[in-house]
Symmetry: C2
Amino acid sequence: MGESVDLKQEANPEYYMSQALQEANRALEHGEVPIGCVVVHKEQGMVARAHNWRETWKSPIAHAEMVAIEEASRRLGGWRLFECDIYVTLEPCPMCAGAIMLSRFSHLYFGARDPKGGAVVSKTELLAPDLWNHHPDITGGVLEYECGKILKDFFRSLRQGKASFDQRS
Amino acid sequence: MGESVDLKQEANPEYYMSQALQEANRALEHGEVPIGCVVVHKEQGMVARAHNWRETWKSPIAHAEMVAIEEASRRLGGWRLFECDIYVTLEPCPMCAGAIMLSRFSHLYFGARDPKGGAVVSKTELLAPDLWNHHPDITGGVLEYECGKILKDFFRSLRQGKASFDQRS
């Protein structure tokens, strides 16, 4: 679990996505697929930051978003995150998109698209406004090149035999 | 977290759903929305059982399925649950349906439909065979009356002021 940092910044998607990218880089240190996430409260600033821990924790649900949502809920003392935005380097999968909806996030920012596993714009539009009783605003493509590059480099290394475990999903 | 019970039974959806219903009843003791879940390994029998803990843990992701999946992964020592079936008293929400897909469950059995929040057959078909690279077999309506009744009774009590917190989603 990445430490939480209470850092007040003006709303600046590129800044917060760069923080999520820092988390993705930390995932590499643990041999994890490099995906990072931060949660930003409108007044308190950054209240959670995390990366993917699936292999280390041997848990199918330890995606960056889930770990960050748990941390933010614990820190804010409740499960409704109305006042928060979430930044993630990769388009969320169906589980994480669902968790973002359930947590009542105000705004989802993501970096790269996930053509095979993305549940926001790529494979399905799980957060479409007419589907559930809450849906966040959505902005994709924030630092898209950088967020995509770290994943492409990781999977290229995997194919070259520099790492030894499966893709994320 | 409900304790795990290693109970070998012949494949019997009604038996395992009755165990999930027992978990739903335990949720009531904690003032939680009564939804229960069990995970059954094809050889080892029941390897996890859990109910919804969202209010107590103040976590938006502490649905019965998520808690049971975490427990099963921990017990089996890995995140791929190919050899397992999952039984849940209510049609899974998008987060839990996504987690069931990611965990590679063999078969999903659910009890009652969830017309407002169900992501398997009701609001969307998130586990449709052509969408992701894995999908479980699906059987709905197992002990449907009993699984629906415990929820209806709970929400009726809520409306009559006998409890004080929100609906599940």
